[in-house]
Symmetry: D2
Subunit: 127 residues, 4 copies
């Protein structure tokens, strides 16, 4: 994932809120673009974030792209949890978890994961 | 806290990462500007975020400002935790916690809270 | 207009791209919220920006809100130009112009200003 | 240049202010990182933007990266102008110009281009 110069704040490091944007970009690439390529558009029509937990281990600076590893650490009937690790120059610099809730934007209600969605998530499930 | 039109994402609601920016603005106003008015510049010279937890309860839209309540929910020798509640139109729309670590930016090390800093934090400590 | 701590970049001043966000917030408050209060929702359904010109006269820092003055410097059949001046601590710190084109988002075409829109813009027209 | 999902605004297209961020990233990569690789750190220590002009020709959406072409369209004693064209799916979607002023951040004054800086800029000068 590329880091933008404008992601830095007045301290000269990537701003802590921007880590969330970087994790979001990784997640969106998988659940929107990646799922769409598998003919699955239902995530794009609505995933609501219920909770994030973000741990900051090292400051990250503008320069080379960072690497984000991502997996599904928990799957329930109507939610799943994405876990992330962010590596900068090969060193673990951050960790996060996002609880994602499939959502029907039209009627404004959370909904259960469909069979197709469970199928799509399976290869990313951590043992 | 004002919400910007540009805080909304393609879903037409305030983007989840921007909640963190709104909480950050509330925190910075207290620990940078507020503390400086009490003659305390040491927070501004460096507070590092070690962890955030953010819960999303309702979508927030562009329009009226939101109200953020903030208090110190935990204080340790070398860290403190800021807790927030965000209200939109009088309804609780989000909750968050930030673990803050005073930091010596010059030598790159965390440090203990000073007596002046503890004094400044005291009125915000929840019972 | 409030300035956010996160508007600053690694130079410790408000980032030049964020000036555009601050001008945008002023413009949106007038053309979306202000117009809606006059029963005019057509700007909100689509104004496209065709061009911006932005001059930077002084750096702006995080702290007190800045003041943005705004007027319509030109009105044509199918576009209008918003001019802005941004004052920080009473001093002119920036100037900008935005060429705005009313747009029919549904069919993807620019359109002429309606009589109601011309009526709404009239008090903001500079002599 | 990659486009982020979060670059989109409530209209579902890349926000007009974010174009400026995308141009900024292209410019910074050249003048900070690129120049540093040539042993030239003086741009990074301070380039101030005096003016931007930005033309929007087509909406840009989240998805594939966009291509930004960039050249020096004017060079003066104490400023230079960067011109950009942004292509999305092979089509010209935007154009911009940035007037850049080398700046001595330490004493707060603009300064003339050095011989090394002129040398670095030469290959990018349009005929």
């Amino acid at each position: 994932m590329p880091v933008r110069w404008s992601d830095m704040d007045a301290y000269g490091h990537v701003n802590n809120a921007r880590f969330l944007t970087i994790y979001e970009e990784a997640r969106v690439a998988l659940f929107f673009q990646g799922a769409r390529e598998h003919g699955l558009g239902s995530f794009e029509e609505g995933i609501v974030i219920a909770r994030h937990e973000i741990d900051y281990l090292r400051p990250v600076d503008y320069g080379d792209p960072v690497r984000v590893e991502m997996w599904i650490s928990e799957q329930r009937a109507a939610s799943f949890t994405v876990s992330y690790e962010l590596f900068d120059d090969g060193e673990l610099a951050g960790r996060a978890k996002s609880v994602c809730v499939p959502y029907n934007l039209a009627d404004g209600h959370p909904r259960r994961l469909s069979a197709d969605e469970r199928e799509f998530l399976r290869p990313y499930l951590a043992a």
